[in-house]
Amino acid sequence: MVAIPAMAAYPSDRHMIPPDAASLPKAAAMSSEENPTMIEVESLDFFYGQAQALHGISIQIPAKKVTAFIGPSGCGKSTLLRCFNRMNDLVDIARIGNGRVRIHGIDIHHPDVDVIALRRQVGMVFQKSNPFPKSIYENITYGLQIQGINDRRKLDEVVEKSLRGAALWDEVKDRLHTSGLGLSGGQQQRLCIARAIAVEPSIILMDEPCSALDPIATSKVEELIQVLKGKYTIVIVTHNMQQAGRCSDHTAFFYLGRLIEFARTEKIFTNPSQRQTEDYITGRFG
């Protein structure tokens, strides 16, 4: 199990995975030789006002792997992703009807969970790259400075480490103090990834990170994902099925707010067990 400084000290046992984990619905469990489960969703219903966006989703996302969410627009994959760091809290009318999301075995929607600490553990990269209109250096250190870390040496160290981690160091090391908005689209997206890993999360959520990038920038981000997965659990939402095929270990296919199929990526793309998955993969709809 990964060390979880922010939440390991969490006192109550009530929200840990019960010992008889086998009794949980295992609609989408991986086989036993897989990595341990990092994110566990248990029959989750999710609503925007009266409209139900997610219907009884159950999925177990393994640690230190890349899991891709695919499906046509409006199928709920982004909504589910934004449940993992409670970004949906920002939407007034959003509400969880039923079910649980557990990360490191802890129910993240429990009132005792500090959403700030959660989001430090669960980083996010957005569809539209959103570097702050500050310098590259300040973009990276932002997450640390809001925690009150101002030690210059520590910050310098983190900046270099994060930029190297995001394969951006060599491109920007001479202009760390110029605006992050001066970078190209692909560099901006990698800057956002660097910014996310600067606060040392254990999970990185990516919401269509390459949809606004050209093929070369896309391949760089995909390479980066391959490097990162040794250290982080990555969940990536994508519209691009080739991308899911290229860079993910597991793929979940969503349709109309339901999880249709979740399996190893090779299986989903070569031998899906559901008819709908096959139709979507082969381009018959979507």
Partner: protein, 370 residues
């Protein structure tokens, strides 16, 4: 062989006529506004220029800008017509050993308008500070924190309605609340009004702040608030959602996200539109005539015994001075000079404020781009 008829030939049609008429109408309306504005500005600049400028060095009527208003005395002396201000007139009498000197007197027509300029500047600065603080806070609450629902809709409606309240009503509101009701901390019990003991021999007497800067600041600020709130909300909405999400996703609290990644980029817009709305409000006479403005005041605002008295003193102000000179005194050529001169100076000050806000906007916008 003959060429085919031109299919794009210009033809007269009713839609074409309507088009021309409509276009002409719109153009005429625009030019009409331009003409009106030019006329107003031109008139005041020409008439006021006569008072404010001089044909000889230093080309500006310095006493008009640096002295207090005085009574003008017009009299004949040894066959010559003389026009002297109050102090000069008395000195003249003394120098010539005259006890009596028959003269016509015209109030406010000599001296200058310095105290009015100072008063207006003080009113603008104070009310801007109050309006900015309350307005920006309310805008942050409404656009960043509040949940959408009937309550917020009601608040917005109330703010919009506030923008439509006539200025005289604000004046009366200021009179009723600040001038005659707001509590002051005093060391005696005032039996005439609500008087709450707060210990140490002090009482909170609800006897009002009187006609003073503080009352004027709050009245003007309340009047500017609707525009400040609406403009600030617009500026906040113009900041991309990604900045907020980006910082929240890194574990920032809501206030951290707003303070570091929303406010800095919204402030230029907030400040500039607020300055413009204050400049407009500063031109109002009605809100200050009951709350802050004096017809005449000998002391300058900084001539106070106790620093706190600074807040509780009335001031002279340009719009009220124009009002007094042009409607409360008998009209003649002497008051007319003061009227137009004051209007000219006032216009220049308001235009200066507007220009400052525009320059500020350009400067700050160029610093924060995304």
């Amino acid at each position: 062989m003959h060429a085919p008829a031109n299919p794009f030939n210009v033809r007269k049609s009713s839609s074409r006529t309507v088009e021309n008429v409509a276009f002409g109408l719109f153009r005429a309306a625009t030019y009409f506004i331009l003409a009106c504005a030019t006329f107003i500005f031109g008139f005041i600049f020409v008439k006021g220029g006569e008072t404010v400028f001089r044909a000889h060095f230093p080309f500006v009527n310095v006493p008009f800008l640096t002295q207090s208003p005085e009574t003008l005395y017009v009299f004949e002396y040894e066959g010559k017509k003389m026009e002297l201000g109050d102090k000069e007139f008395r000195a003249f009498k003394e120098n010539h050993g005259l006890k009596e000197l028959p003269a016509e007197s015209f109030a406010h027509s000599a001296g200058g308008i310095f105290p009015c300029i100072v008063g207006t500047v003080l009113l603008v600065i104070g009310s801007m500070a109050i309006a900015l603080f309350i307005g920006v806070s309310a805008a942050i609450y409404l656009s960043e924190y509040s949940k959408h629902g009937p309550f917020v809709r009601f608040v917005r409606l109330a703010i919009l309605n506030l923008a439509g309240v006539p200025s005289i009503v604000f004046g009366l509101f200021g009179l009723g609340l600040f001038v005659v009701f707001m509590p002051v901390l005093q060391s005696f019990h005032n039996p005439a009004v609500l008087s709450l003991p707060v210990g140490f021999g002090h009482y909170l007497n609800f006897s009002g702040w009187n006609v003073c800067l503080l009352s004027g600041w709050f009245t003007l600020a309340f009047m500017a608030l609707p525009v400040v709130i609406i403009a600030s909300e617009e500026s906040l909405k113009a900041v991309p959602m990604g900045f907020r999400e980006g910082s929240l996703a890194l574990g920032a609290t809501k206030w951290q996200a707003i303070r570091t990644n929303v406010l800095p980029y919204a402030l230029p817009g907030m400040i500039t539109s607020s300055i413009l709305s204050i400049a407009r409000v500063a031109g109002e006479t009605a809100p200050i005539m009951f709350t802050a403005a004096y017809i005449v005041r000998d002391k300058m605002p900084w001539q106070v015994e106790h620093p706190l008295d600074f807040l509780f003193q009335g001031v002279m102000a340009l719009p009220y001075h124009i009002y007094v000179v042009s409607s409360k005194l008998p009209q003649n050529e002497y008051t007319e000079r003061v009227q137009y001169g004051t209007a000219f100076v006032f216009l220049v000050i308001v235009m200066g404020i507007a220009l400052t806000s525009i320059l500020l906007r350009i400067r700050m916008r160029s610093r924060h781009r995304w």
